[in-house]
């Protein structure tokens, strides 16, 4: 039998009270009748980066999409379990999914800016949607978010240009800026650098380091070097199970599970 290690490790001073921003309890999910996530429970620490690694098809993306109720938009999706954001259940029948989605920003695997909108509007549309009307505030937030996504210097002259005119890496950073603009508390990233070149990837990784001072970040990646570079905690998923979850250093240097060890040593994947 596989031993599932879900003991949550502590970091730094053991006396410090640990704050968990997001807690997933017993999440099981399927689509088209195929179960892709099996009873996974995880706690995500505030102001830290948690990476989810595992071979493709292990359910890490599905699990991520359960965390902001995006999974239920998929065809024939089913889901059981609970996700608590600051102790409040996202899947409670009383709340419309839209209410909590705006607290949880998401960056998708492929850049998906709104093609008919300008760079400015791509970032500002989420603000307008949520009732921000003041032009000065809009300008300020757009600038701030583009700076955080380290895109500002490249586009500040032509904010009116369509978002699709940017390169792939720039588009992805634009999508990050768009996600940041609604001032979320949690940021979910689904292989944000998988379609990008090394330089763009590096920019995004630097940005994640910067963002983590403010946000709870959960990143799905199939790139183990990336996980070691950016994350504080790592969860390894395999065939829908959470096999091991711990500090990134421990997972990569001293894995407790045999399969984890094989995976991080690159014996399969």
């Amino acid at each position: 039998m596989m031993e599932i290690i879900t003991k949550i490790p502590t970091k730094g001073n053991a006396n410090e009270e640990i704050k968990y921003k997001l807690v997933a309890e017993n999440i099981s999910a399927s689509y088209d009748g195929i179960v892709t996530v099996k009873n996974v429970s995880m706690k995500f620490r505030d102001r830290a980066v948690t990476a989810l690694i595992g071979p493709s098809g292990c359910g890490k993306t599905t699990f991520l999409r359960c965390l902001n109720r995006m999974h239920e938009l998929t065809k024939n999706a089913t889901l059981t379990g609970k996700v608590l954001l600051d102790g409040e259940d996202l899947y409670s029948n009383k709340v419309d999914p839209m209410i909590n989605r705006r607290k949880i920003g998401m960056v998708f695997q492929k850049p998906n800016p709104f093609p008919t909108m300008s760079i400015y509007d791509n970032v500002a549309c989420g603000l307008r949607l949520n009732g921000v009307k003041d032009k000065n505030i809009l300008d300020e937030v757009v600038e701030g978010c583009l700076k955080m996504a380290s895109l500002w210097n490249e586009v500040k002259g032509d904010l009116k240009k369509p978002g699709m005119s940017l390169s792939g890496g720039q588009q992805q950073r634009l999508c990050i800026a768009r996600a940041l603009a609604i001032q979320p508390e949690v940021l979910l990233m689904d292989e944000p650098a998988s379609a990008l070149d090394p330089i763009a990837t590096q920019k995004i990784e630097e940005m994640i380091q910067e963002l983590k001072k403010e946000y709870t970040i959960i990143i799905v990646t199939h790139n183990m070097q990336q996980a070691t570079r950016v994350s504080d905690y790592t969860g390894f998923m395999y065939l829908g199970d959470l096999v091991e979850f711990g500090e990134t250093k421990q997972i990569f240097e001293n894995p407790r599970n045999e399969i984890t060890a094989k995976y991080v040593q690159g014996q399969f994947g």
């Binding site: 902001n68 995006m70 938009l73 065809k75 024939n76 419309d96 999914p97 839209m98 209410i99 989605r101 705006r102 949880i104 920003g105 998401m106 998708f108 492929k110 998906n112 800016p113 709104f114 093609p115 008919t116 909108m117 549309c125 989420g126 949607l129 949520n130 999508c175 768009r178 996600a179 609604i182």
Partner: protein
């Protein structure tokens, strides 16, 4: 071991085959060219007789010796009739398309799409028959008479005795008939919007409607306009149901002013008067001439629609099935 025996055939056959295929394709071009030529030669008499007045005149007299033909009332009748039909059917079609692509539960989706397709399959003449024997009385009793009593003859658009065979009835039935065209193409176009666009909107905290407005609508705008124009093309050329319901007047009386007034469209006057026109006469040339005008209008509409829709949906009928 398996041996394969297959005649290789001569290379000439390949060439012949290719030329037959090209010939079949060229047949389409030939049809369009012949169509233009035939409609022109068939109507040359009336153009010579009336000149440009054929487009702007309102007289319609087929009594020998006093013959005079003007297509203006029927062009107006066609445009007004099709216009009212569009006003009704476009919002309805977009609603259906939005339901099918965004909101419908999975169980309902296929049967509903099928119902929309079946609406398109019902022959025009049956819509006409139903409109004539069934729908007309409802329109007359429930809509026309109350509106007429309320506003009276002073109001221009509700003037005239509500008889049921008029612009209003014809255009409502026409609207029902073009809903499937616009709805099914719009649905295809909305479905073609990538889900990642919707997800981006939901991520920002959008409701279903807001996601539609933010992600689906701008993405599919040109395609949706194309679908509307394609529907307009159908509405302009639709013949039988309109002929059976529009009341059929000729001359200046057919210029539409009131909803409750009998009128005439280009298609309906061709269908109605054809049997009375003698071969080789000016009357027949006038009807063919109206056919030419209708052809040009429909051609232009379809070319515009084609360029707007083709980008998004490759083939309408094929795509609907798939």
């Amino acid at each position: 071991m398996m041996t394969i025996k297959m005649k290789k055939g001569s290379p000439h056959i390949d060439k012949i085959f290719k030329y037959i295929a090209i010939g079949a394709g060229t047949y389409v071009v030939a049809l369009v060219v012949m169509l233009v030529v035939n409609l022109s030669t068939g109507s040359v008499q009336v153009w010579q007789h009336e000149g440009i007045g054929f487009l702007t005149g309102s007289d319609w007299n087929s009594v020998e010796g006093r013959e005079s033909y003007g297509a203006f009332p029927y062009i107006m009748g066609t445009l007004v009739n099709a216009g009212i039909a569009m006003l009704i059917s476009v919002p309805l079609s977009f609603g259906i398309a939005m339901f099918l692509s965004e909101l419908s539960p999975k169980l309902l989706r296929t049967p509903l799409a099928m119902v929309v397709e079946l609406l398109a399959a019902v022959p025009s003449v049956i819509y006409g028959l139903w409109g004539l024997y069934v729908f007309r009385t409802y329109i007359q009793d429930w809509i026309e008479v109350p509106l007429h009593n309320l506003f009276g003859d002073q109001s221009i658009i509700f003037a005239g005795t509500p008889f049921g065979l008029d612009i209003l009835t014809a255009s409502i039935v026409l609207a029902i008939m073009i809903v499937p065209t616009i709805a099914s193409i719009s649905r295809e176009i909305m479905i073609a919007v990538p889900n990642s666009q919707r997800e981006a909107a939901y991520m920002l905290g959008a409701t279903k409607w807001e996601a539609f407005r933010l992600a689906v609508l701008p993405y599919s705008k040109s395609g949706l306009i194309g679908a509307v124009i394609l529907g307009l093309g159908r509405a302009v050329g639709e013949t039988m149901a309109v002929t059976m319901l529009i009341g059929n007047t000729t001359g200046a009386a057919a210029i539409p002013t009131s909803l409750f007034q009998p009128s005439q469209t280009m298609a309906s006057i061709m269908a109605n008067e054809f049997a009375e026109a003698s071969q080789g006469g000016l009357h027949l040339a006038a009807l063919v001439g109206i056919g030419l005008i209708l052809f040009i209008i429909a051609f232009l509409i379809n070319v515009i629609a084609h360029f707007l829709v083709a980008k998004v949906v490759k083939s309408h009928e094929g795509a609907v099935l798939a």
